[in-house]
Symmetry: C2
Subunit: 213 residues, 2 copies
DNA sequence: AGTTGATTTATTGTATACAAAGTGCTACGA
DNA sequence: TCGTAGCACTTTGTATACAATAAATCAACT
């Protein structure tokens, strides 16, 4: 794994908390490589806005409630559009991919064999996979780019860790609604269901996050 | 001006045509600096998708009709949303900034003192300024980021160079409609007017561009 | 002639030394 | 005690040498 991916992973997994100062030299020492690839990784993470310039150097980006509001609303706009486009452009394989995600999601909810943390990691992964399957089904590379770009940021909130069983079930249901609408070539229904799903996520994060960030 | 800006400018102004191969060493020689800042600029332009990796190295990105379609539709989605948000969040200064752009635009159309090329450069600049004024008025940093990101790409088409006097007048009128709607706190009207404006730009580019790219 | 393998060449990847510049600290003066 | 100027230190910016590797060329064999 290259430097960029390693640092990104550390940020998303919370090893480098928001506000943490990152210097090239420290990272170089930590990852046991020279400053050159570190520089590259930092520049890239900066354009993705996972880190922000501060004085001489950078810090892991911090997001306040206003940021969360704006980011989730943008997600709703873009992923809602993607769902609508998917309802028009989806292939049979796209449908299958989405079905697989939802089936695994369902299995996991019905047979909670792991510990809670492992299960929520799995859920997070499956949720991401479903969303990917939807925007991939839109067959729109530019749209895909913007969605992935706006979606990395909420990852740092690790929102699924606050979900209870009822909320997870509600998520699955909306996934299924979205899938049905896409399968039935109903762009507008797909869009509204997706937006509803994301707005629920937004409100959930806003309700649970510490008031200041 | 740093390396990144110089290369970006060269791409947007067409000095490096789409498909042109760019190598670190050539750029370093051309800009009279070492490869290090060139590397950085290339990486950044790559994440902005102005250049694309190809074999060992990169080329200036090429866009086909499908790309143009997708990019302009995304612009309509994002800038339409920005216009609606601006209608809710705009301050008095935001309104003034938009008014200034449109007044200058109008002056320019009524008093075409320059040569055609200089005038169209000026028009392009004023058009960009108006659009910036609108999304700045939305007071949404994340939205701003995505709009600027999706908007750099159409710049390489230099679409205004194909506009005739009537079309420029129509552009100005829509700008004024957008401004009125934002001033009157009519988010939906602002959105539809902005979308209409961008769709007209899209169709204009698609009509005039060489069929293959 | 076409295909495969080895050799050469072009180009990027990495490390490191040094230059430049911003930050903060300390000491001095008001 | 507060402010400020100068200095030291931390950190990034740049250049350059060398390593790694992908691509292209060419030759040999089928």
């Amino acid at each position: 794994m290259e430097a960029y991916e390693r640092i990104k992973k550390s940020i998303i997994e919370g090893d480098y908390a928001p506000g943490t100062r990152l210097t090239e030299e420290n990272l170089a020492k930590e990852l046991q490589i020279s400053r050159t690839p570190i520089r590259e990784a930092i520049k890239r993470l900066e354009t993705e806005r996972l880190i922000s310039p501060l004085k001489r150097g950078v810090i892991v980006s911090e997001f306040n409630r206003e940021d969360i509001w704006q980011i989730y609303n943008l997600r709703a706009l873009l992923e809602g559009y993607a769902a609508a486009e998917a309802a028009v452009n989806r292939s049979a394989e796209d449908i299958e991919a989405m079905e697989r995600c939802n089936e695994q999601f369902k299995d996991l909810l019905e047979n909670p064999t792991y510990g809670r943390t492992e299960m929520l990691n799995e859920i997070t992964e499956l949720n991401n996979q479903f969303h990917s399957a939807v925007y991939n089904a839109s067959h729109n590379e530019h749209l895909r780019f913007h969605i992935t770009s706006v979606t990395v940021l909420p990852l740092v909130f690790r929102s699924f860790y606050w979900y209870n069983e009822y909320q997870l079930k509600k998520s699955l249901e909306l996934h299924q609604t979205i899938l049905c609408a896409i399968q039935a070539n109903e762009p507008d229904r797909a869009k509204t269901a997706m937006q509803e799903h994301i707005y629920q996520g937004r409100d959930h994060v806003l309700k649970n996050i510490n008031n200041e960030s």
